[in-house]
């Protein structure tokens, strides 16, 4: 008898060590993003980032597999995203939800997942207080405060700007962003002389009247926030067309205005624009160079990743971490949060971690400047700020200081 028993035990031991190979499990996760409509390019970036991670890390989960079910949130508002989440949870029985480009998408999902206790990894939505809406949510993207505050300090301290005007898309992230800039800029001795709302986020307006107004203020710096995507190209173009650099106003902003996917279309207009952001594709780290190479191998040499794509990629890394933590069992909110709150990862954007208390991202912020090199535009890193937390939550401003569930 004993002859047979020993190999049996050791076989069981091997199985246990390798993560219960015997019953390979398929983890269903839901991915919600705008796949059609005005923001479809963002949905596509995010999905590509996520799928690239899955492809490159296939073996990482042993025999377990991940099935990602994509649902189109179509519009920035809540209803469709929420219906998608509800169906994903109740019909597809997904164990985790990720994606979420727009803040209202994420906000509308929060009460739902609080009920179902489904963990959520936010890949993009940036309104500062969102992680406060659920104990089951973490965010791997960014908040407006991270870039805005640092940009404000940098403009005043390093770029010699004494006065600034701000232009922003008139919605909460825009207001967040200029508030952060103002706070950083004023704290370093600068003065904001005008803040110009430039229409809603849904449609790209003709920027000329707003920039012409900014130009007439003769400030040293102009800080611009617009949502990633269609707006970005128009910003640099308008700035150049109005010859504002010649008039002595420098263009600065968060990296949304030099989004990598839009950059080459801006031509010489973007030359010299200074931004603060957590990612651009020109970062020199080995992780990033490997990432960009893999991206272009997968999606073609003309395709480039941007910070939304990295959000998708890192988000999926977080999802994989959570699944590994479940160790072949069901992925629960409690289990996933145990892994993800405090999770650290070497991302293409540099080392990132998730704040165990707030569930929000902690990451480097880079000051970059756009340069023309060999007929192409590149972003040169000028300065790095390490492990930047969300200022809004640190300062406990408004909803950032409260639990919202």
């Amino acid at each position: 008898m004993k002859k047979y028993l020993i190999p049996a035990i050791s076989a069981a031991g091997i199985l246990a060590l390798s993560g219960v190979q015997a019953d390979a499990r398929e983890y269903k996760i839901g991915f919600i993003g705008p796949m059609s409509g005005g923001a479809a390019q963002l949905g596509q970036q995010m999905e590509r980032g996520a799928k690239l991670y899955m492809k490159l890390h296939k073996g990482e989960l042993g025999s377990h597999t991940v099935k990602m079910i994509v649902r189109d949130s179509k519009r920035p508002g809540g209803p469709i995203a929420k219906a998608a989440a509800q169906e994903l949870i109740t019909r597809e029985n997904v164990e985790l939800i990720t994606g979420l480009i727009f803040s209202p998408n994420a906000m509308s999902v929060a009460p739902l997942i609080n009920k179902s206790k489904t963990p959520v990894v936010i890949m993009n939505a940036g309104t500062a207080f969102i992680p406060n809406m659920s104990p089951h949510m973490v965010r791997v993207s960014f908040t407006m405060w991270q870039a805005g505050y640092i940009m404000g300090q940098h403009a005043a301290n390093k770029m010699g700007c004494k006065t600034a005007v701000s232009g922003y898309s008139n919605y909460p992230p825009g207001k967040d962003s200029i508030a952060a800039f103002r706070k950083g800029f004023v704290a370093s001795g600068g003065k904001v002389i005008d803040e110009i709302p430039m229409g809603g986020p849904a449609k790209v307006p003709d920027m000329t009247p707003f920039f012409q107004r900014a130009k007439s203020k003769n400030a040293d710096c102009m800080y611009v926030f617009v949502p990633a995507g269609n707006h970005a190209a128009a910003v640099a173009k308008t700035y150049q067309a109005l010859a504002m650099r010649k008039a002595g106003t420098k263009l600065v902003g968060p990296g949304d205005i030099t989004q990598d996917t839009q950059l080459q279309g801006m031509g010489s207009a973007a030359d010299g624009v200074v931004t603060a952001h957590h990612y651009n594709m020109f970062l020199k780290s080995a992780e990033n160079q490997a990432f960009v190479k893999a991206w272009q191998a997968e999606y073609g040499a003309n395709s480039v990743p941007d910070f939304v794509g990295v959000g998708g990629y890192d988000g999926m890394a977080a999802v994989y971490a959570a699944i590994k933590g479940a160790n072949g069992g069901k992925l629960t909110a409690a289990g996933a949060m145990k892994v993800l709150r405090g999770w650290k990862y070497n991302s293409p954007r540099g080392p990132i971690s998730i704040d165990a208390e707030t569930g929000d991202i902690v990451q480097n912020v880079y000051i970059s400047v756009v340069r023309q090199k060999g007929g192409k535009l590149v972003q040169e890193i000028q300065q790095k700020f390490e492990a930047v937390k969300d200022k809004c939550k640190e300062l406990k401003l408004g909803k950032c200081g409260k639990k919202l569930y």
């Binding site: 005005g38 229409g199 809603g200 790209v204 009247p209 107004r213 128009a234 067309a241």
Partner: protein
């Protein structure tokens, strides 16, 4: 020049560029609605098609911008004849609501189609040297493209007015818009006139789509729906079917829109809509409409 005068002139120049674009984009729809009473909400789809043809010509074949515009005019005009023959003409005598449904269907399908072909991103073109950068007019710098837009717009408007006022076919179109029954009894084939006018209007929209690439932040799939609101406002304020009215409406709304955003950016899109509401309540048939 005093700084106030500089400011006013600046606002007028920019506003004028936008006005020209608005007119070129809208005039075709105004004629369609005036001539046949056809609610062609797919007008924006034709403009969008023009934008995409222009983009593809320039970026794929390296054609000069102006040539690409002309080609897009021709292609879209021909395309619109096809649509008119195959789809639209079945609905001339049907209720407006059916026309709305058909043309919105075309808008949806066209948005999806261009998304498949060109993707969801806005398509941009790098303008030739003489159209990019800015030009110093002595009192302020203006984007070269805006100046070009005004000049090109003026030429197109002049050509259109000349065509309508001085040519035989123009006279027939005007007669048909004014009073279709009368025109028919004078032996004018209004069916054929409409086809040609429709093609002309769609071609104009295509020109607008191409010219607008630079001013509207690129051409993208949602264009067909996004600018519908503006077309409808221009036509309502100008008076349906009234070409002169459409021109003045575009002029007024373009300049007011720019001035509003320049002086009261907090007002957002509020101002142009407020002006529209006031004008239409005072003159329900538009500034130049028939009572």
């Amino acid at each position: 020049m005093s700084s106030f005068l500089i400011e006013i002139t600046t606002v007028l120049v920019f506003g004028l560029a936008f006005s020209m674009l608005l007119f070129i984009l809208s005039v075709g729809l105004s004629i369609t609605m005036g001539l046949m009473g056809f609610a062609n909400l797919a007008h924006g789809s034709f403009a969008m098609a023009g934008g995409y043809v222009t983009v593809s010509m320039v970026s794929k074949t390296g054609a000069p911008f102006a040539v690409a515009l002309l080609v897009s005019f021709v292609i879209v005009a021909l395309l619109s004849i096809l649509f008119e023959r195959v789809l639209y003409r079945h609905l001339y005598r049907r209720p407006e609501l059916d026309q709305v449904l058909l043309t919105i269907g075309i808008v949806f399908a066209s948005i999806a189609t261009v998304t498949f072909i060109w993707g969801p991103d806005p398509q941009l073109i790098l303008m030739p040297e003489y159209l990019s950068g800015s030009v110093d007019l002595g009192f302020n710098n203006f984007p070269r493209y805006h100046i070009f837009m005004i000049v090109a717009g003026a030429i197109i408007v002049a050509a259109l007015f000349y065509g309508l006022e001085r040519t035989n076919i123009g006279a027939q179109i005007r007669a048909a818009v004014d009073n279709r029954r009368m025109a028919e009894s004078c032996g004018i084939n209004t069916g054929r006139i409409f086809t040609w006018t429709f093609a002309l209007g769609s071609g104009m929209a295509a020109l607008g789509g191409g010219l607008g690439i630079q001013l509207l932040g690129g051409i993208k799939p949602v264009f067909a729906l996004e600018y519908l609101v503006i077309f409808l406002i221009v036509i309502a304020v100008g008076g349906m079917g009234n070409i002169r009215g459409t021109f003045f409406a575009a002029l007024i709304l373009g300049i007011i829109d720019f001035a509003g955003k320049f002086y009261f950016p907090e007002g957002g899109a509020f101002i142009i809509f407020a002006v529209t509401i006031i004008v239409l309540l005072i003159r329900p048939h538009g500034l130049f409409g028939k009572a």
